[in-house]
Each structure stands twice: as structure tokens, then as C-alpha cells.
Subunit: 294 residues, 2 copies
Amino acid sequence: MTFEATLRRTAEEVEAVLDRLLSFDGAPASRVVDAMRYAVLGDGKRLRPFFVVETSRLLGVEPAYALRTGAAVECVHCYSLVHDDLPAMDDDDLRRGRPTVHIAFDEATAILAGDGLLTYAFEILGDEATHPSPAVRAELVSALAGAAGAAGMVGGQMLDLEAEKAPVGFDEIVTLQNLKTGRLFRFSCEAGAILAESGADDRSALGTYADRIGLAFQIADDLLDEEGDTAEIGKRAGKDSEAGKATFVSLLGIDAARRKAEELVEEACAALDGYGRAAETLCEAARFIVRRRK
Amino acid sequence: MTFEATLRRTAEEVEAVLDRLLSFDGAPASRVVDAMRYAVLGDGKRLRPFFVVETSRLLGVEPAYALRTGAAVECVHCYSLVHDDLPAMDDDDLRRGRPTVHIAFDEATAILAGDGLLTYAFEILGDEATHPSPAVRAELVSALAGAAGAAGMVGGQMLDLEAEKAPVGFDEIVTLQNLKTGRLFRFSCEAGAILAESGADDRSALGTYADRIGLAFQIADDLLDEEGDTAEIGKRAGKDSEAGKATFVSLLGIDAARRKAEELVEEACAALDGYGRAAETLCEAARFIVRRRK
């Protein structure tokens, strides 16, 4: 099976779990539930859940636990997109080739749908169905909250908004992107080790892998923003460079940015050397991240 | 000590814990942290934490655990105020007698500060310092997420926005308010039983108490909105009736609404009969809720 086929199969499994989890039968406020479903369901690469599922597979975790944990991460990722797209934030009206939530519904509903998804991620993780050990569930909650909060993703989005107003250099972009996207990738990769109740060695190897692919992912995103076209990537291309925002590409140039991304992929794969061929899919995932066209 | 003095003393203890918890030393995105602190710290009755602390005291829980759990609930309560005050939602510029977060900072920062506070509540609950038993921590997370999410507070705010467009009756207002404010009160009262690892009897008694005071609180709020003045209550008075929104007062009339609130207080106190004098402070809290002037 090609890597793309493996990714697609996992995405379908994640989609089915999300569809079931987001069916709040009899919920009185159906509009916000509709908006939550609109924000999450449909085509998405489900990259973060994929990393939860693959690191879990590597360490022998029950697939059902990994899928629920992956669904929780995806809820956090999708909430962040809904809020980032709001007029007061990045003011985007297109996402995955469809109107963003505040366009398809309205701003108030989009804010609430985001809040609902963020909250639901923790409800999923706290539930016994995610793992029989409450210690594992509590650790997943702490780790996801740390990755998503003010010292993580929320802080990264704040820095990103501030970066539009003042010039930033390479180190600041690395910090910003590590918070904004890296921390959630890192959680996704460490989740396998948490679910497997693994020791420090697994956590360290997966953490290094995650840090490298997180940065590679963002460099690849900047390259896509520079080189892609709107129809293909499903959101407005060229937006960052139009806005005069510093990106890895504007700071390094296209060629050096591409080389840097490829170096990071090699480092990511090297971090998993100890697992031998069992880690091949994760290594392919790292390569996929920099070659994807959307 | 009068009840007001007891409430104030607990509020001071909660404030100290919140101040410490909201000190993210060295966090790179200081603006969002400043906004989170602005949203939470300062004078507040800290009613929800008070119920966590008092139900915990009733059941012999270590006060430090109750204070951290109370701080988590207050983070959720304050995030909901920040988001509800946004222009796209209730569009309020005054809260606790001060400019709301999106006025004092800006809309994007207010959205992020709310997101950060909601996330942080779960980080607090997931942490070992909140309770040594991971099963207790996981249950707190599940219960708070259920109370705050689309089938709870977020759903209630959605219904509230929809109620501005279509007339609603008494039963719908009860459902709406139960979701919007009742569920978080209920969590606050049940938290003591969760922290104490209590059985079904305590949970049932505290749940009944919580349901009654939650509804009484909202009726009292509607009475204040009708009768209070802006300077005293610290937010714009008369807003709901101006907007033509159905409230308990508009549906029942002032006198019947007041009688209903007092009946609910008696039922709340009766639910705690089994605890004898140990529950006296909780009973006074129920009475306070309907006599408060802000």
C-alpha cells in the first residue's frame, strides 16, 4: 500500500469515529452541533490523528484508544481553525475549499462551535472508553491542555497576530511556529507513548521526531503558500507574502527553505532508528509532509 | 461571621490561587496572558468556587484540592463571560464595572484569552496537585467538560442567542438557563462529592441542591436586571427587557418570580437536611443568591 493510501485509510477510520462522537442525539442546541460537525467532518488529511494512530501502533496500543485520542486532537485542531478564521483574527472565508464556519453560519455560532469542540476534546479524553487507566486519561488531558493553551497553540496564535505588526527574525518564527503548530504535532506523537504507558526512551525518541516534523510541516506550508494555487490548496494562497508577513521562505529563500525541510525529515527519521522497520510508516509520513501539494 | 464575610474570605483564597495559577512566567505570548489575568482577577463573588469549597468542606476534602478545582471552574466561568461579551455575541462593553476584555484589549485577544482560560481549566484539573487520585482528576475533567460543552453551557448560550429571534415560553427558559448557568453550578456542587470520592447519596443530595440554586440564581438575575441600576450591578441593567427577551420576570411577573425563587431556596436547603448543621453555610448561600443586589 502506498503511504497516501495508508493515510487515507486512517483518515476514513478517524472520520467514522468523529462522526459518531459528534452525534449529540437530542442535544437542545442543534445549531451549534451542526456547526461543530460542519467544522470537523468532510475531507481532511487528519494528519494529527494519523500520528496518534501510528505512534500507538508502533508501541502496541489498542487501535480504538488511539482513534478516540486522535479524534480529540482533531477537535482541538478544527476549533483552532474556526477561531483563527474569524474576522477579528485572520479573516478567512475559505477553508478546505468550503466557506469557513462564520460564513456558512454566523460569527456567534462559529465562536460557540469552536468553544464546543475545544471542550469536547477534553470530554473525549476524560471518558473511560479512551483508556481503562485513569492515570493515562489524566495525563492525556494535561498534555493536550499544555500543548493547546496559552503556553502552546493559543500563545502561538497571539504571537502570529503580533508578528503582523512588527518584523520578526528566524528564531522568533521558530518559536512562534513551534507554539502554533509544533506543540499539537508533538502531543499527537507523544500520545502513543502515553497510551502505551511507555518509559522515557520512547517519549524522547517520539518527541524528537515530532519536533522535527512540526517544523518541517510549517516550512512546507510556507512553501505551499508561496508556490501553490488557491484551487489546489483549498485556502487562499499567497496570503502571507501579500501581508508582508515574515515566513521561513521570506527569511531563508525558497531553495534554502526546501533544503532545511529535507534536513528536518532526515533528522526525524533518524530519531526512530531504534525501532527499525516498524517505524517505516512514520518515516514516510515525515517525507510526505514536505512533498504534499496541499 | 456573617455569610457575606465567609463568602469574601473564600473569594480571597480563590483569588490568591488564581493569581498564582495564572502566572505563566516566561510565557512568550505575554499579551494573551495579560488578557487572561484581566478577565479573571479583580473583584468577583467567586460563587462557583465557593460552592466547590463548601461542598468539599462538608465532605471532608482537603481545602487545597477544592481551591484548585474552584479555580478551574472560575476559569471556565470567566472564559464564557469574555466570549459572551464579544460584539458578535451579546456585545457588552462593561463587566464588573470595568471595560470588557475586547474593549480593554481587542477582539482577537479576547477570543484567544477565552480559549486560553477554557484550556487552562482542564490543565489545572489534570494536574496531580488537584487530587492524588487520577480517577478523581479524570472524573472532574469529564464532568466539567460535560457541563461546559455543547450539551451544557455552550448549548445554553446558543439557545439564548436564538431566543432573541423567536419567542420562548417558561419551559424553554428553564431548559436554556439550566444549560447556560445551571450546569456549571451543578458541577461546582458535585465537585465536592467527586473530590471526596463520595457515593450516590451525597451526589444526589448535592445535585438537587445545585439544580434548585441554579434556577433561583437565574430568576434573581432577571429580577436584578429589571430592578437594579447599572452602577450597582456593574453591568448594563434593563438590557434583557429592552431587547424584548423573555425572562422569568417577563413570563411570571415580579412577585411570582420572587416567590418562585424563594420556594427554590427552601427546596435547596431541604435537600441538605441529612447533613444537619454542617450544611448551614450552604443553606445561607442559597438564601444569599436570591437576596444579593449584584
